[in-house]
């Protein structure tokens, strides 16, 4: 009797240990931080504090990584196809969310591949911002462009701001 009990306990412990990394989706093995510099033509690179966000999401990787880390997706709609999560070869945003979402090659792929379910997957920039802003808006995180992105000179020029601000419009013109 005690032997069986011991065995069951052992089994449970083994299962728990084996299940641990999947349930916590390797949060511990994720990067400390990531440098996001795709908008370097307008803004300084963003140093994304990954570990802080692991804490904020209480280690539930699915909050941002959907099913790709093997954690159960938070969006109930995903569960139909990925009920227990489904680990992917890569969990980097850019490996699923194309930085060339609207270029011909991508558009041709989603049009010609009739088996493809995810025809409306946002591109990389859209994925970042929709995820980040979506959460920041509801949790009180920063939402101003420059709260995360420090604009550089090129950016100032693009926005006609800073040193590139237009001269104030004169309302006392003589005509």
């Amino acid at each position: 009797m005690t032997q069986v009990r011991k065995k069951i306990i052992l089994l449970l412990i083994t299962l728990a240990l084996a299940g641990w990394p999947a349930a916590h989706c390797l949060a511990e093995s994720g990067p400390e931080s990531a440098t996001l510099d795709r908008l370097a033509n307008l803004y300084e690179a963003v140093n994304f504090n990954h570990s802080a966000h692991v804490d904020i999401t209480e280690g539930n990787c699915a909050e941002c990584h959907h099913h790709t880390t093997g954690a159960v997706p938070t969006n109930p709609k995903c569960l139909k196809c990925h009920p227990g999560g489904q680990e992917s070869d890569s969990m980097a945003c850019q490996d699923c969310h194309s930085a060339k979402r609207f270029e011909v090659a991508y558009l041709t792929e989603i049009e010609s591949n009739t088996q493809l379910y995810h025809i409306d997957k946002p591109g990389l920039k859209g994925a970042y911002h929709q995820k980040c802003m979506g959460c920041h808006q509801t949790t009180g995180g920063p939402t101003g462009c420059q709260d995360c992105h420090v604009r550089n000179e090129k950016g100032d020029e693009f926005f006609h701001a800073g040193n590139f601000s237009p001269a104030p419009v004169a309302h006392n013109g003589g005509h």
């Binding site: 709609k77 609207f102 270029e103 989603i110 808006q137 939402t143 926005f159 237009p166």
Partner: protein, 310 residues
């Protein structure tokens, strides 16, 4: 390249009126069957539920189109409080081919709606059909472009456009021309690339693709989020369909859309007017009757709008 400026056009036109007047009517009156858009034309699906009003799209358009410096920086959000002399929100102009406006909506959890606005690139553009010097072209890619060297600055298209898009450049009083969004045709669309505003948007408010695919995507979004979206893709059918289409989580009439515009292309209404256009130089009174009819039609549509509901 053949250049027609205003003076030579008027001269040539006057000399040729006798011939034109005799032949034009029958030819033109058969040219108004429904068209429905090129099958593989491109479009943009704009989803207002995602817009945060950052104005990056306005800045991108300004740069791409080489437009004059704005009055205020593009990161200046006080423009959202601006009200024009006519009591309306900001509109597209010869200096800004696209504008984002803010609409306060009662009880909307996410706050105000930001609405980006530019030429809708109609399948059957009223600007094109109303232009009597044929300055406009609907390209197979879906863009409605125009040739400023042909434009005589008569402003018929301004009156004809159901969305009040074309603006008039006063910078050159001798040769004023129409200015509007061209869907970045010359620099991007022609080469299969997305418009500058689409690419600049951080939130991917705009999805660029084949128009027919965008309708699928739009319907799928509505279907998978029926509680969020209004069950309508604005522009799928309006005025015969437009290349730029819209999704919203608040009724379209609350964010400045004309929801009484109908599904008939404006061409059907201007058809009779069009038959007289080639004779325009001999029959000025008729031309102005045409202007008047067009203007009245838009007024009538406006007045049909139910009041209140604010």
């Amino acid at each position: 390249m053949k250049k027609i400026n205003r003076r030579s056009f008027l001269k040539g036109g006057l000399a040729g009126t006798a011939v034109v007047a005799g032949t034009a009517v029958s030819k033109e009156s058969s040219a108004s069957q429904s068209f429905g858009g090129y099958p593989d034309s491109m479009g943009v699906l704009v989803d207002f539920t995602k817009c945060v009003g950052c104005r990056s799209c306005e800045a991108a358009c300004n740069k791409e189109q080489g437009l004059p410096a704005p009055d205020k920086p593009f990161d200046d959000m006080s423009v959202y409080d601006e009200i024009q002399h006519n009591g309306q929100k900001r509109r597209t102009s010869e200096k800004a081919y696209t504008i984002v406006n803010r609409y306060k909506v009662k009880d909307r959890e996410a706050g105000p709606v930001f609405r980006k606005f530019q030429c809708n690139h109609c399948n059957e553009p009223a600007c094109l059909t109303s232009c009597f010097v044929n300055a406009y072209t609907k390209t197979k890619e879906g863009a409605v472009i125009y040739d400023p060297t042909v434009c005589v600055g008569c402003r018929t298209c301004m009156i004809a456009c159901p969305f009040y898009v074309p603006a008039y450049s006063y910078s050159s009083p001798i040769n004023p021309v129409i200015k509007k969004c061209i869907m970045c045709y010359d620099t991007r669309l022609k080469f299969g690339r997305p418009p500058a505003c689409v690419e600049a948007c951080p939130q991917e408010v705009m999805t660029f693709g084949k128009r027919k695919d965008l309708i699928k995507i739009g319907n799928a979004r509505i279907r998978s989020n029926p509680d969020k979206y209004i069950d309508h893709i604005y522009g799928e059918k309006e005025v015969g369909g437009t290349a730029w289409m819209y999704l919203s989580d608040v009724p379209f009439d609350q964010i400045g859309f004309n929801t009484h515009i109908g599904e008939q292309p404006i061409i059907s209404y201007v058809k009779e007017f069009l038959t007289i256009v080639p004779m325009v130089l001999t029959i000025w009174p008729a031309l102005f009757t045409g202007f008047h009819l067009l203007a009245n039609r838009k007024e009538a549509l406006k007045n049909e709008k139910p009041s209140g509901k604010e």
